[in-house]
């Protein structure tokens, strides 16, 4: 097993291709007591990639709380698992597919969905919902529009074909994501207690089966690709992007459903990043055993594929199973019924290593202690960004760029605040017949069959002020998720995180990552939301420019009674409009740092991030849940991006009724010229905008006073206007036009290449 006949160590260039450093290579040699051969080096490159090994982030992730009485499985398996009671479990996970989506938007996004579905399928669960978080550059740029449209097409194509509803998500556009789009997909599944599968290999002699697609040359070194900077050569890496086949995966899904819970099934794992090598090595490592793979038994799509390509291919729609010896034919027959190829490709061995043979000839043998657990942790330097000199008051307060009405309409017309219906009407969000509240609301709600309960699902990212304060901005993302769940009366069960960051070798980015994880850990503890699964995506940078810190968070909550869901928005004339939570904070009661208003006015966040009081967030969420359960609120909506102004407009447009309200804040003695717009559009945290029957006010007042949550009655529902007395008023129709028209309007810009001699439309 010498290195292909030559003893020369790999060149720096060869190592760079594998994203390994010379130090890492040296460490591998020391641990092995020899130099790895070429195949072994490839396996190490894949398994030691950032994507597979978390070598940079692992030491940080340990601080995330992952336990609660509900948590059945925390990080470490294919997906996290929480107990819904009554023998039903919920599995969920979110994952990034940023790099592939940047290079080949349709297939990159589609295979991201396919991959996260397989993570849930591998738990023995039936996927019941998909959600996504997408970030692109500004849509004024035709290239961004085209790529964004194609990512949406890819997500829709995969989910629509496989028949799992896409029930929610978020979109955000900022030039900081122009060269590094973010595409994060979350999947939620349900499984009965006894059918939960685990991703492990054990029992010497047990056969290892590969089922699904044939193995091709696609995606070789995809894990490595995801672990380096996107550069001008990225286009040449297109072969590192895989091609999806949702039809095949649908058959895999159904077959795995039939086999979950089978007493002869030992382990089930999807082939994701680093393909067979990672799937087998990780299963064996979890099971405390080893695996031997005979590459000749792997069904190949192309001629002439050697062991290196077979082991590192990332061909999609493949899963690895370990079954009890003697049961393999029964399993193969089951898969055959669904038209799926299934081959015995190896067996479990006692020695804890990954052994690869080619026609019986051993071609690689690596101890799992080296391959899976041996990567030297990286501790790149981190350096805090100097805190910006507190520039108070905010320039927008001093010199407002627009009158308050215009500022309000501009924020409503920003694709970041406006309705993303343009996106989700391309997604089947209903298949399965369980979607009670679909996309576009605070949280999606699914019913649980045969129960009064439901699931609440929400995807939220760090507040844009994470650029100013990554710790607080990340914590705000979780607080927003908690508020979204509270609006439908749901208690949080857990969160899955997808940590999207730039170049970890930039001390600033490393500091952002450390701060963000610390902020998430603190918020998760304080808010009582365990982090049960997740994924880290580093190297989202281009020509030295990193993306802003962008953790996305996917929350799952339990709705105790679907009959008690509030209605969407202001729907009954004469109802009271109330603000729950503190009305404002900061100088003059307004906070503009990182707000959408600030972004539109000045291009980037400045000043300080809004204040965040986690204890108050927790109290308010609990009080809102109680109020929803007691049917005290007709509607409830959280104030997030765009502040009170956007929350008011959305509630009015959803419910079809205007409102006349007062400002939640009394004007200061000498208000700054931009105060009115800042009241409307500042993004003070911890607030909910509700409407209620006036007859329930006394009870609500008592309940909130007892919980220590401020309540301010602002006005009444009704009419064709949205008016905040003394601040601004806009017609309801104008608000609707902005909210509903912004994204379709932005996407209707001229297509890429239009005016360059290309035909614009189809010819008949």
């Amino acid at each position: 097993m010498s290195r292909a006949g030559t003893a020369a160590p790999p060149s720096r260039e060869e190592l760079r291709q594998l994203a390994l450093t010379e130090e890492e290579y040296g460490s591998a040699c020391r641990q092995l007591g020899r130099e790895p051969n070429q195949l072994e080096l490839g396996l190490l490159g894949a398994l030691w990639s950032e994507h597979c090994s978390y070598k940079t982030s692992k030491r940080l992730l340990g601080q995330l709380p992952s336990a609660s009485p509900r948590v059945v499985q925390g990080p470490g398996e294919n997906a996290g698992v929480v107990d819904l009671g009554g023998g039903l479990l919920c599995c969920f996970k979110m994952e990034s597919h940023n790099h592939p989506s940047a290079v080949e938007p349709v297939q990159g996004a589609a295979t991201g969905v396919g991959g996260i579905l397989r993570d849930v399928i591998a738990m023995g669960a039936r996927p019941v919902a998909l959600l996504d978080s997408i970030r692109f550059g500004a849509l004024e740029d035709a290239r961004q529009r085209q790529r964004f449209a194609r990512v949406v097409e890819g997500i829709g194509w995969y989910g629509n074909c496989i028949g799992v509803p896409t029930v929610g998500g978020e979109t955000y556009f900022d030039q900081a994501y122009s060269e590094n789009c973010l595409v994060n997909a979350m999947c939620v599944g349900l499984v009965e207690q006894g059918r939960l599968a685990r991703a492990l290999a054990r029992g010497e002699g047990n056969p290892v089966l590969l089922v699904g697609a044939d193995t091709g040359r696609d995606g070789i070194h995809g894990a490595t690709f995801a672990s380096v900077e996107l550069d001008r050569e990225a286009e040449e890496r297109r072969p590192a992007v895989q091609v999806g086949n949702p039809f095949l995966e649908k058959c895999l899904l159904e077959a795995c459903q039939e086999l979950a819970g089978d007493p002869d099934l030992v382990g089930l794992q999807d082939c994701g990043a680093a393909g067979l090598s990672s799937a087998c090595a990780e299963m064996a490592h979890r099971g405390g055993s080893g695996v031997e793979i005979e590459v000749q038994r792997v069904s190949r799509r192309e001629r002439g594929m050697g062991p290196y390509e077979v082991m590192l291919s990332e061909s999609q729609e493949r899963m690895v199973l370990v079954v009890r010896e003697g049961a393999e034919e029964r399993f193969r027959e089951r898969f055959r019924r669904w038209g799926l190829r299934c081959d015995v490709i190896g067996r479990v061995i006692a020695e804890p290593c990954l052994r690869v043979t080619d026609g019986g000839r051993p071609v690689a043998q690596l101890p799992l202690s080296v391959l899976v657990a041996g990567v030297p942790p990286r501790r790149p330097q981190s350096r805090a960004e100097p805190a910006p000199a507190a520039s108070s008051p905010d320039p927008l307060l001093e010199v407002p760029p627009w009158p308050a009405e215009e500022a309000w309409l501009r924020v409503l017309g920003s694709p970041n605040c406006a309705s993303s219906r343009w996106v989700w009407r391309q997604y089947d969000h209903q298949v399965g017949d369980d979607t009670i509240v679909g996309p576009g609301a605070d949280a999606a709600v699914l019913r649980l069959r045969g129960r009064v309960q439901g699931l609440a699902l929400s995807v939220d990212s760090a507040h844009p002020s994470a650029r100013l304060d990554p710790r607080r901005g990340t914590a705000m993302g979780l607080a927003e998720g908690l508020r979204n769940l509270a609006c439908v009366g749901a208690e949080p069960l857990g969160v899955t995180d997808c940590l999207n960051f730039g170049d970890p070798d930039s001390p600033l980015v490393m500091w952002q990552l450390e701060e963000a994880v610390a902020g998430l850990a603190e918020a998760a503890r304080e808010l009582g939301v365990p982090v049960v699964s997740g994924n880290v995506s580093l190297h989202n940078q281009y020509q030295g420019r990193s993306i802003p810190p962008t953790p996305s968070l996917g929350l799952v909550g339990l709705v105790p009674d679907l009959e008690r869901l509030p209605r969407p928005g202001f729907c009954v004339e004469g109802d009271l409009v109330a603000l729950l939570g503190r009305p404002g904070a900061g100088p003059e009661g307004v906070e503009l740092g990182g707000s959408e208003y600030q972004r539109l006015a000045s291009g980037q966040p400045s000043g300080s991030a809004p204040e965040l009081d986690l204890a108050a967030e927790r109290r308010a969420a609990e009080a809102v849940r109680q109020a929803v359960r007691a049917r005290l609120l007709r509607s409830c909506h959280d104030c997030s991006l765009g502040g009170l102004g956007v929350a008011l407009a959305e509630a009015a447009v959803w419910g079809g009724q205007g409102a006349v309200v007062r400002s939640p804040l009394a004007p200061p003695e000498r208000p700054s010229p931009g105060w009115a717009a800042a009241v409307l559009l500042g993004e003070t945290q911890g607030r909910y905008l509700a409407s209620l029957d006036p007859g329930r006010l006394a009870e609500l007042e008592r309940a909130l006073a007892a919980a220590g949550v401020p309540l301010a009655v602002l006005g009444r529902v009704g009419g064709e206007w949205l008016e905040v007395s003394g601040v601004a008023r806009i017609p309801l129709a104008g608000a609707r036009e902005r909210l509903e028209g912004a994204l379709p309007g932005a996407m209707a810009g001229p297509a890429l290449g239009a005016g360059m001699g290309e035909r614009a439309g189809p010819v008949s």
């Binding site: 194509w157 028949g163 058959c251 989700w424 391309q426 997604y427 009670i436």
Partner: protein, 232 residues
């Protein structure tokens, strides 16, 4: 005896369980019919549900029409048994020659999932027998290729014979270009065969069978078939 709904399952079908649920809500019994078997398992009503049968390779429904199960469905259709094709099921019925026309890519060239209003144009089929012409139903669509197309001669024939069963309309039954979500010819959402026993439609009645899901208008189709088969 309970009316038995046979729900076809092709590889790639995904409305099978939703249709079974709807059939049960209507008071029927549901059995699944496996694509590779030529067996209707004693079903009184055959439902071809939505999905992407055999991956919809080549054209939607183009491979499914060769399934062994479809031989049994064709025979049942010829005998006058009620057959309902929903979404992909409609596409399969067209490919199988049991219904005229074809379903083309949506005019928008995008997939569309949204609620629509449907005006009942004819109550000849057992699935709409309990309703009234002019009645407006609410249910969702979810498809990328649902633009109904048929040649002018056949269209005239369909109209004359009362075989246009459902049209996309406004809530009050008016027809308008805005109400037509995919550019279907004549706003046609559903058609039947000459005898009336085979109905194909792009919208999903099985997704509109409970108030909790926003509408129970879809349940009428299942209940109506059940009533049509029950002895008086």
């Amino acid at each position: 005896m309970t009316t038995r709904f046979g729900i076809a399952v092709f590889p790639g079908t995904w409305s099978d369980r939703d249709c079974a649920h709807a059939a049960e809500l209507a008071g029927g019994e549901a059995v699944f019919l496996w694509h590779a078997e030529r067996d209707l398992r004693g079903a009184d009503v055959v439902v071809l549900p939505g999905g992407f049968a055999y991956g919809d390779y080549l054209r939607t429904g183009a491979i499914a029409r060769f399934a062994p199960l479809m031989e049994a469905v064709r025979e049942r259709a010829r005998e006058g048994g009620p057959v309902l094709g929903i979404c992909n099921g409609f596409q399969i019925l067209c490919e199988a020659g049991l219904l005229p026309g074809a379903l083309l890519r949506n005019q928008s060239l995008q997939f569309r999932c949204q609620p629509v209003w449907l005006r009942v144009e004819s109550c000849r089929t057992p699935f709409l027998a309990g309703g009234e012409v002019g009645q407006v139903l609410r249910m969702p669509i979810s498809h990328g290729e649902g633009r109904y197309y048929v040649d002018a001669g056949t269209l005239r024939q369909l109209e004359q014979e009362g075989r246009v069963a459902l049209r996309y309309s406004e809530a009050d039954g008016r027809l308008s270009p805005d109400a037509n979500p995919n550019g279907s010819l004549g706003a046609i959402a559903g058609v039947s065969n000459a005898e009336g026993n085979v109905l194909g439609m792009m919208p999903h009645p099985e997704r509109a069978c409970e108030p909790l899901l926003g509408s129970s208008d879809g349940l009428r189709l299942f209940a109506s078939a059940l009533a049509a088969l029950s002895p008086p």
